[in-house]
Symmetry: D2
Subunit: 299 residues, 4 copies
């Protein structure tokens, strides 16, 4: 049963569906009449509440999906499909310290806060004040954020790892780096993270991905992966089951990497003649080119 102060979803026969905060002093005015706050508070989720005009509305409990999709946004939307895999790859969870930059509208910060639990912590950085404030508002709205510190800070000056008012020497377990030119912050990222920490990136264009993976190759990062996630919705029509006519074709490319040293003789131990060896030869050629040298590498 919803409590005053909770968020609730109300859905009408017209197909409208909105999230409201339940306020004892504020009835909800709809096209189909007034929904009394007291009536809502007295109803169970999964039942219907009637307006003064006797029109039924479904009373639903918002889940994490509804929260991250329901925020006010001034930035590019980020979707649960992408958030989910990132949380698995970064190991977001109880007891972990996760860094995020930028905060954007705070949609993913809500999910990070949610999954990090009471013993985890999220440090989120945002250079633009309007987004910093928006992210704060959205965390408050969603009723999460007790384990989040929002930093209004441009990370081109680093993550403040040694600053007593910022990270104060507490390195992150993982980083979600969602900025337009992530390759410019790789050094700062390494300084702010524990050894071996995973990093995830979200990039809309292939040119960005191309530039990022070039940069990752030149620094101590390994196991870089790139993927994209597509969700295909289906029409729920019994007896006429089929995919929807339209779907989202693209949100962003996901890039994952890990901070990892690589010793000089690693390459030499890749077995001759294997696919890995050929990939390594191509890599050595690129690195040699980047250093302005000739490459002479046995495949």
């Amino acid at each position: 049963m919803p409590q005053f102060g909770d968020l609730v979803i109300l859905a009408s026969p017209r197909g409208k569906r909105h999230i409201y905060r339940l306020d004892p002093n504020q009835d909800i005015h709809t096209q189909d009449g007034v929904l009394r706050a007291a009536d809502i508070a007295a109803a169970e989720f999964g039942t219907e509440v009637r307006t003064a005009k006797n029109v039924p509305f479904r009373l639903e409990q918002p889940q994490l999906f509804d929260l991250v999709m329901g925020i006010k946004r001034q930035t590019q939307i980020m979707y649960p499909k992408d958030m989910g895999l990132i949380c698995f790859k970064l190991g977001v969870g109880n007891g972990r310290t996760i860094l995020e930059a930028g905060s954007g509208s705070g949609g993913f910060t809500i999910a990070l806060s949610w999954f990090s639990g009471p013993n985890g912590h999220v440090h989120t950085f945002e250079a633009r004040e309007e987004f910093h404030k928006l992210a704060k508002r959205n965390l408050d709205w969603a009723g999460v954020g007790q384990n989040v510190t929002l930093h209004h800070r441009d990370i081109s000056n680093g993550f403040g790892i040694d600053d007593p008012e910022i990270l104060n020497g507490q390195k992150g377990d993982a980083l979600f780096l969602d900025v337009r030119t992530p390759w410019e912050y790789l050094g700062h990222a390494r300084a702010a993270l524990k050894p071996g920490a995973p990093i995830a990136f979200l990039l809309p264009t292939v040119e960005q991905v191309s530039e990022l993976i070039h940069a990752l190759e030149l620094e101590p990062f390994e196991e870089t992966e790139v993927c994209e996630i597509l969700v295909r919705p289906w029409k729920v029509v019994p007896g006429r089951l089929r995919p929807n006519d339209r779907m989202a074709a693209h949100t962003a490319f996901l890039v994952f990497t890990r901070i990892q040293e690589r010793s000089a003789d690693w390459d030499a131990l890749i077995p001759l003649g294997t696919r890995e060896r050929k990939q390594e030869a191509a890599r050595q050629a690129r690195l040699a080119e980047a250093r302005g040298e000739e490459c002479d590498y046995e495949v």
Copy 2:
């Protein structure tokens, strides 16, 4: 720095990558020589450890992704891409009580435990003893499960909502129902869940999805959704960036629904002439057919 008893990943120049539990009394024997446990324990994640033959291995920290993909399996694999969205739709998180049936190999149970945190709880049900035991072993292996109760029980007898040794009257906030014929358990599911609770299903074939959505329509469930998630991996070759040649084409269809009452006059309030109205007319026709009646419904 890894502790004895922790899981660690060791990756070789040959491209092999394995998870081990770090045991002070057990060195790791590889094709390239012995890795001493003491050496591993003295190294940082993200660095390399050398075998007795001086071959370097990367020392990595397993993340949630690695845990759920690294379990021993006797059942169909379930992937993080699907797990992630399900957690968002079910609101898996701190303080929530999540039901799961069946446990299978326990891969998703690990994720449910991980995200539920110290104040959440997971009840997972499994009819077959070998899977029940396997799930237990995998939770122990992953070092999670403190917030999980594993029930060796066939849910065709219900979730034991009133049984003092099972749920003892504590209803679940959400359910993941991963069985071959989920339509047979909808009544038991409703009995074991709080009002309005969300349910997720995972089904490999379209005939199953078709049968399930027929059944959901006949009971108090609403907002049923069906989707599938595709992950397209890319080749990380700087200057030659492109998708992989091959990808997974299918794991399973995801179905989401919510327990929800629907009053008799709801239908009549859907605006005439709208798409929703036409869908409702088709629904009424199916329901009438299921009841052996004629349908006369105004569109």
Copy 3:
């Protein structure tokens, strides 16, 4: 240079793009002024023509893609992505006789006519008079159809293989069977086709596909394949290259099969223990069930 009577595409700076038939007696009236037919006829494709208000329009030559997408439609649209693969699987081309049912709006009939060339022939069948006439109009509009015979006929009475006014004993090399319940016409299809002929089907829902493949299994058809084709469009923005935000998620499922006898001892020769053998065992079980028998088959 376009000739009077040709179709031409005219595209404006506003982003509008229309196909017109060039008629010496009919100037084209646009929002931006009149385009004189004589001016168009005097211009080259790939150049611009100016209206009386001096607004430039691009003059383009319609290709087959533009023709099949530009027809008047009263039926479900069929897309070049699907048409293309069907033509390869059916062997549509010079000298071949292709059967099609139903004609629908004639979009695919245009493509069949186009690729069949002067020595090929297309027989297309349509039960509904309005579509039969529409298909004829669209073929005329596209300037093809010299090698097409349009039959206004319900194929539940067969393809008229022995009727001197219809196929007159001339069997088809291949069939495109685009009807709602294709499993009802398999016998008629076999009667109208040469031995071993390929057949393609286009079906929107999975229940239809499921029913069709059940039916194909009970008759002499082999090598049945099912697939779906997705086209992902990209945004052509140099330096910001990425897929479009939205795409078509579904048009229809394609099913391909071949008429093929299967002798009784075929099954017994599939090597024991192979995947093919297991598939055969499942098939034998289904066939036995369809006949109301017990199945006892060695895997």
Copy 4:
């Protein structure tokens, strides 16, 4: 019924499927015994032929799909899914003159020849002698190519439009330009094509697509489109219908454009404030940058 000299497909209960040329003097030796050429020639397609050991083989007629997939290849494979859409966009068909470079293994040349019919013509260019010869062999093998001229020529010297032994002034209706660096040949392409002709490109990597669309923007080409085609195969198991586990994730990106003039005042006529206008502003900025100028353009 197959004729001597025809290609035939023979498929065994073991799941093997091969294309052979039917030769009266050459019986076919299989693992399961000899198939006599005379027996094959006496059988109908869609029936079975027996080896000397009484093992049945299915006798099937190769369709265009089987031909293009069955060639000997020394180059990257090109798939019917991509070929089909290209033929629709280029208007390949009876009476058209199509240019292709390079020939590669000749797989697409077979399809171009097939669809172009007796009144169409294909000029295919290949710089490397081994591929030029291979393409010729594959056309002969497929029994097509009467309407094809194979040129052993490096198109960095142009398409030989004025050379009496090559195109001899006969411009192409369309071009398929399948080379690694297509942006280097755009001028030659325009010289060899009729005004307004469409061009299609096939490129494996996104860096190539990025470079090509930059180049197209600087020359008289318009309506450039980029897409990729995915075919998802399904498992044909009645009652257990679902997509395959694995699929091809990528073959190549398709790029389409048209030769098209653009007059100086075209841009100014795009309505202010529209999406097209914003795209045009970005384009003007890129063009200005390419010319080393400042851009001052009203959006």
